[in-house]
Subunit: 231 residues, 2 copies
């Protein structure tokens, strides 16, 4: 099905292992801390606003997320949130960074399979450098990958530099990931191929509008194991 491919690139968070559900747990605990000021829905809406405002400066990852939690708590409580609760938010952040690494179904089986087919496998992940390195180490998957690229963002230009760096043409590259916004659409834009494997939980910022016309052309798999049929 994909004949010219040399490099198969995997997104990491929610493609190889569980990530977003941990953020949701942290958000739920955060809403609890603010429950005497505002209902959960309002807190989540305000948090998203703060995160998006700070995204250019903080980038993706746990530390920027925690700073945005603290900023939101101060703002929406009119600076009345207790100092103890702020200490609690810092602890929630540390717990988030130390969550266990849980691989998604079939990860090792499919990496093993693709490796024996002589594809070059890489990880292309966005987020905090140290956190992503830590997760990769915990995952025990390092041995499968030729290269790990932690990217500050996943826009077409970021992928173009990655291809440059790997010294390959767009048609030799395929990206596999759970985020339409980060793993699929920018890849199609640069003329590479992509396979979308949806995950049950997605940060709203990573979703795209249903009427996006490009969505019709996207190759989808229900799970990693289905990739076997394609390579």
């Amino acid at each position: 099905m994909f004949s010219n491919i040399k490099v198969i690139s995997f997104d990491a968070d929610d493609t190889l292992w569980v990530n977003e559900p941990y953020y949701r747990e942290t958000e739920a605990a955060f809403c609890e801390l603010l429950t005497k000021f505002h209902p959960e829905k309002f807190v989540n809406t305000e948090l998203l606003k703060t995160e998006l405002k700070n995204l250019e400066l903080y980038g993706y990852g746990a530390k920027g997320f925690i700073l945005s939690l603290i900023e939101t708590a101060l703002k929406i409580s009119d600076h009345k949130i207790s100092q103890e609760s702020i200490g609690e938010i810092i602890s929630l952040g540390k717990q988030l960074q130390n969550k266990p690494l849980i691989l998604l179904d079939g990860v090792e089986e499919i990496l093993d399979y693709l490796k024996t087919k002589n594809y070059k496998l890489i990880v292309a992940t966005k987020g905090d450098l140290l956190d992503q390195e830590r997760k990769l180490r915990k995952s025990n998957l390092e041995k499968y990958f030729h290269h790990i690229e932690v990217m500050s963002d996943k826009k077409p230009e970021n992928y173009r530099s990655l291809l440059n760096h790997l010294d390959i043409n767009p048609e030799e590259f395929i990206m596999i990931g759970n985020s339409l916004r980060s793993d699929i659409l920018p890849i199609l834009e640069i003329g590479s191929q992509a396979i979308h494997i949806p995950f049950h939980t997605t940060w709203i910022h990573e979703t795209v509008a249903d009427d996006n016309s490009q969505l019709n052309n996207i190759v989808k798999c229900k799970s990693l194991i289905e990739l076997k049929k394609m390579f």
Copy 2:
């Protein structure tokens, strides 16, 4: 003087541009916020303790630093620091990330000179991925460098993977930087060469004990321009 060198690698913060003085400014403003609880010296000592405790989890860079400032403020004020002051710390962090980029003397002249001599120039910097990319963009120095490596740490094993990635031998690599601990000693340990260019302000964690016997073998320059004599 250095005959087999193929790749010259520059540290960035306080080697190519000003960094540490901005952290000192932020620390001074932080001490001001805590002045009614403790004298400056105590605040700085406690801050360093928190930073070192968090280093393995947070890594290097502004966001982890700000989280450590907030944690320290809560701890040493016995949770009595005002919520407004915590908001102020978050603002100090954003100001730190948005400081102007000031090149050190002679940067462009020496990069130009080395480039005409056909060395491959790279940047090997530690810290936050997005912050370092942002600084490099502001610096207008991207055109000189073949490769930018943002590293989560600068231990011998980190440099070994860098050499692997660049596909060169240790004796073909030289590192230039201001930190004995991060840019010089680990480089000597892997059998590469290094040139130390001290900067007037150094974070205490980046210093090494004066009686370290390896310090006798280190090549030093007073400024970047002096490198001309060596290549």
